[in-house]
Symmetry: C2
């Protein structure tokens, strides 16, 4: 898992200089090593949450289109709303995108995909559950579902359609180390 | 390697709505699946180039501080200037940060770290070379160097101070697959 702490927090005098529909741009004056001051810039965007849903030993995978993308594979998930905890976002996205609810949730890993953007990606494990409603997709989503085995889940790390920068290293490490593989299987509740 | 093509190019009517010191914010109206139109947003920033420099079978690693980060490990590299090819950026960054020049260059991989930012990371291999000048660091950089073996290079994929989202999966795959390991070693020109 990527460290959460390598970028220092933005200083308190940082100010928002632009607010778009997804991104905010923040700037501050930073004194650098020769004593001069330059404008530093960082972005903020809403955090995101995704879900590894495991039911009867199988993992839910989505195949998805969005208006500005080609086909890709992903886990259920999406953007956190301002009034939600990451867990609430994960639970909402799971039921909206798949119709499934689960009672057993655990935070699996947290990643910061890029240094100059304040943006966390939360991955949750949801063990067990059932379909509670039809999906309620956004008008900007087309999603189909399938259930895959644990071995297929690990091999997603070689699938060019699966683009999770946060999970690919985790899956590769589980393929590399039998102990990590067993630990992951156990955490997912797969016998 | 990550596919270069999953996000479609920005449409021709996209317009830049903000230009900061690093990031540009672009927006356009996108018709979504229910026929309605919403504002889509994407960022642009300068591409980046990094270098795997191999001299006498050893690889150059940097330990670095920047004013807004803790200590981290990286390869020589940095932002591409507007008038440069990625190769020119890699060559300039190598000599500025390390003082080294090399005659034998090859593009190793190209990555797009995140979907909503038009931003490519180029990784080059430079085989052989020598120190031509002292380093010429930016006032915002503090860098020290060391030479590491191929095995240590592979194990950077487990070092929390090494934060290359583009190289970590490549190194993990080389550890996982003896053929990929030999191929990588050969491409680096290490016997």
């Amino acid at each position: 898992m990527r460290s959460m702490t390598w970028r220092k927090p933005m200083p308190s005098d940082a100010r928002m200089v632009f607010k778009g529909v997804i991104f905010e741009v923040w700037q501050w004056e930073q004194t650098i090593y020769d004593g001069s001051a330059v404008v530093f810039e960082r972005l903020r965007r809403s955090d995101a949450a995704q879900v590894i849903l495991v039911v009867d030993g199988m993992i839910l995978l989505q195949e998805q289109y969005q208006p500005d993308t080609d086909r890709f594979l992903s886990l259920p998930g999406g953007r956190c709303e301002p009034d939600e905890t990451p867990l609430q976002s994960a639970q909402r996205e799971l039921i909206e995108e798949s119709g499934y609810e689960s009672d057993e949730w655990e935070l699996f890993q947290t990643d910061e995909p890029t240094g100059k953007i304040e943006w966390k990606n939360y991955t949750f494990i949801a063990r067990g559950g059932g379909k509670k409603q039809d999906t309620a997709l956004d008008a900007g989503e087309k999603i189909t579902h399938r259930w895959i085995t644990f071995d297929d889940f690990l091999m997603l790390s070689d699938d060019p359609l699966f683009r999770s920068n946060s999970l690919i290293p985790t899956l590769l490490r589980a393929r590399l180390d039998p102990q990590k593989r067993e630990d992951l299987k156990k955490r997912l509740g797969i016998a």
